[in-house]
């Protein structure tokens, strides 16, 4: 197990390095000049040059890359030219906002998805199964800017139960922010529910056909006990892995939802940085998202190994 984790960590570092190269390369070939962007079209050539030296843009690309990556690791993320603020606190603040939203969404769609998946599997090919499958799949095809707007129309405009905009204050606590989180989280739930339902359903259907479930039944155990002790223990394994991998996506991939609700998360920060051609901010934010994604994958792998004795004892 120790060796397994060490190997996975090795791969993780490698992935981050490769991703950082791609991010850096992609941002340097981005059209447009940072200095002109920041200083405006009418700045003098001298001022622009000064700006470039200040940002280290006059140095060779490899040196720029090494410096950037070194600073990133050290936690010295520099100042974002477009906002003229420190990148580190800015990213961390947005990240914690995204975490809050992800957490609420996660707590909504994972238990619900597993529950619906189990119900569907236990009623395979009957009306309950078909309703659940069709229902959850219908939402997967609905983009967030449509489902989000529908939710806003119903719950914010018509019923007036929840706020339509989620621009929470910078110093809002979780309980203060919660009402603002529900609608965006619900939007995320609608898109993600189907994955969890399908995964749970198919693995549960498989497990229900296993010989050991027959053994459990013919031991005379009550159905509920067969389900909880013998079926779910095995059928939720693949689901847990998929869900854990989804965490990475959940934090970085909410750009559209955050935009619809004006929610100050990290996805929106990245969008902002790209619009402003703020290289430092783009690079750092993107790399932070890569790290989160990779860590989520690592957690998924370890979780799977820990829960599955066939891997644990190899």
């Amino acid at each position: 197990m120790g060796r397994f984790i060490i190997r996975r960590l090795g791969f993780m570092v490698l992935t981050v390095i490769v991703a950082s190269i791609i991010i850096f390369w992609a941002t340097t070939i981005l059209p447009g000049d940072v200095a002109s962007q920041v200083l405006g079209r009418y700045a003098t050539e001298q001022a622009k040059n000064n700006m470039r030296v200040e940002l280290g843009l006059d140095k060779p690309v490899t040196v720029q890359y090494a410096t950037w990556l070194g600073n990133f690791v050290k936690g010295d993320w520099g100042v974002s030219p477009s906002t003229a603020t420190e990148v580190l606190p800015l990213v961390l603040h947005r990240l914690s906002n995204s975490f809050m939203l992800a957490l609420v969404a996660f707590l909504m769609y994972v238990p619900l998805g597993i529950l619906l998946g189990l119900v569907a599997a236990l009623h395979k090919n009957r009306w309950a199964d078909q309703t659940i499958s069709v229902g959850s799949l219908a939402f997967i095809g609905l983009p967030e800017f449509v489902s989000g707007l529908i939710l806003i129309t119903i719950f914010a405009i018509e019923l007036r139960w929840l706020p339509a905009q989620s621009a929470i204050a910078a110093d809002a606590t979780f309980t203060e922010a919660l009402p603002y989180l529900i609608l965006p989280a619900l939007t995320v739930t609608l898109t993600n529910l189907a994955y969890v339902v399908r995964m749970t359903r198919s693995s549960t259907v498989d497990v229900l056909q296993m010989d050991y479930v027959r053994t459990a039944n013919l031991k005379g155990l009550p159905p509920r006990r067969v389900l909880f002790t013998h079926v779910m223990r095995n059928s939720l394994l693949p689901t847990i892995t998929v869900v854990a991998m989804g965490i990475g996506w959940l934090i970085g991939g909410l750009i559209v939802t955050e935009q619809v609700f004006g929610y100050p998360g990290i996805g929106r920060l990245l969008l902002f940085a790209i619009q402003r051609r703020d290289l430092a901010l783009i690079q750092t934010t993107a790399l932070v998202l890569v790290v989160i994604y990779v860590v989520a994958n690592l957690i998924a792998d370890i979780l799977y190994a820990v829960l599955n004795p066939r891997i644990r004892y190899q």
């Binding site: 010989d211 013919l218 031991k219």
Partner: protein, 707 residues
Amino acid sequence: METSSSAPTAVPSTTNAPRPVFEVEGLHVDYSTELGSLHAVRNVSLTVHEHESFGLVGESGSGKSTLAMGAIRYLAQNGRVTDGSIRLNGVELLGLSPKELRELWGSRIGVVYQNPLGALNPSIVIGRQLAEVARQHLGMDSAAARGQVEEMLTKVAMPDIEAVMKRYPHQLSGGMLQRCVIAMALMTNPSLLIMDEPTTALDVTTQAVVLDLVTDLKSEFDSAILYITHDLGVIARICDRVGVMYAGEFMEQAELLELFRRPLHPYTLDLLGCVPRFDPRPEKRSLVTIPGAIPRLDELPPGCIFAPRCTYVEEACTTAQPPLAGVDGNHLSACRRWQIVPPPAEYIRAATEAISPDIEVCGKGAVLLEAEQVQVHFKVRGGVIRRREQRRIRAVDGVDLRVFEGQTLGVVGESGSGKTTVARAIIGLTPATDGHVRLRGRELERTTGGRPRILLREIQMVFQNPDASLNPTRSVGDAIVRPLTLLGGLGSKEAKQRAKALLEAVSLPVSYFDRLPHELSGGEKQRVAIARAFAAEPALILCDEPISSLDVAVQGSLMNLLMRLQIEKGTSYMFISHDLSAIQHLSDAIAVVYLGRVMEIGDAVRVLTPPFHPYTEALLSAVPLADPDVKQKPIRLEGSVPSAMDVPAGCRFHPRCPRVLGDICAEQEPPWREGEGDHHVYCHIPLDELVRVQAETLVLGESEGGV
């Protein structure tokens, strides 16, 4: 199609017999499917008494498992018991609520399954899975349940119980797991124990140990056993009474000896005749084949369901369905003409023919293939970070063997003995790491890529699983045409002609040429694989367990086919199998392999009569013979074949050898001892000493099968 209601359900009168425990009367089980309602089990009755084991035997699709599971009311959602009566200790099971049934399952009814690894939950430790039964039905707390589990595991002779209880299923061998499942089933001293092919997935040596255990437990527990198997050998070893099933009905029921000595149904005769008799004499006869196939449930013939395949069929058989009726006390037969059914020896002699190889074609002359010190080692790599020293799997570790022109060398051994790897090294699919393979004296390159085409066609292979060895998107014809054009150098038109002739040679209709593999049955697919192997007109065909996954009747017809083709074409075979009965039936010479080494090799007659290598002796004692009159030695091997990464020093068989001498076996490689007629035994014990200790208890008793 429904059985006539006038058919009397004959229940044997059991005046002096022990108490009946499980009584099934006129049971009908239906499945609702897209084809409509299928009557999977029809009007079936049986009685199992205390301490008795009732064997249910039949081909796959005969309804054995459906009957057993229907009788304890555990059916798939589309299955239903539509009629009949099931009594356990006098209590009617039909009409019980699901809750009441659950109180019986696991307490009064125990079940042992075919695949013990699949039957246990992979993510729960053994101890907890077993304790669950005690907690559910005996009302024990976890400490008491634990004690009960320990006691049960002791009863099934489980070694190292403390450790076993903490293990997960994948950490135990098949034999150990099956003991756990048996312990679990017997935890509550159930009235009825259902064993559904409990040894089919196990190695022959492990099977023997498990069967012994069942025999021992039979007297210790009060359970009546319903034992399901397709293997008449297993039936002969442990059953008291036998019911022969066919397409959902009983054809015959009788006491064990009665059924084997004087069967009174043609189907039983056929079943007995398609299994090879154990007979070391070199004269061989073909096996009985049953024409046609088991009918589909939606196309059951009118009258007697076996009539279309029966040797003794007459007009009246095809109109009215005969009942299963008592013909001689406890002996029941569903044949209207049971009086004319001959004794098995007579029947089998008439239905088979002597196989006398043409000396011209198959003369034992030259050595065709010679393997000398062939070695296949696989390297196992360590981790990425800490590269451990490389370990080696010694899959094949110095094998010598020879195949003669026109003859069959049988290669037998437990799983993990390296027999398949030897074959793959010979044909060049897995390159040998050392040693030589020579074909007619010419040294063969180690990989197929290095071999010239002319040599490639000389050696062909038939694999175990025809589903995997035939390309599912290519037609049957393509599969056979390809070697003809590629290796035989034929043009496409000629190749097509030849391919059709080959289909006929393997007794398949020419119309199969354009079919895809999935349209064929397992036996038919294997016939295509055989035709494909013969297409290149090879000198040698390596048959790697080609019949193991098939039904007994199909096995028999394929063995007949292989023997016939050998006589016609003079092809040599290397026939690899774990099934000693098939090996002895087909082989002129036999090599017994263990953990990558040949232990004994020689003419079949020599290998199958003393002196034996102790491993051969153990295999011969273990194989269940379909003849209850033959007494076999109670020699059993404990444990399983060690890992090929950890080959024991000295004689590699010594840790399991029942005749181990002492330190010499653990320290020194044994010598090759040479007996009469090309017979070699790899053992420290001198041959005359082996003869002396082994002659006392011959493997085969006095009474020869006589067929």
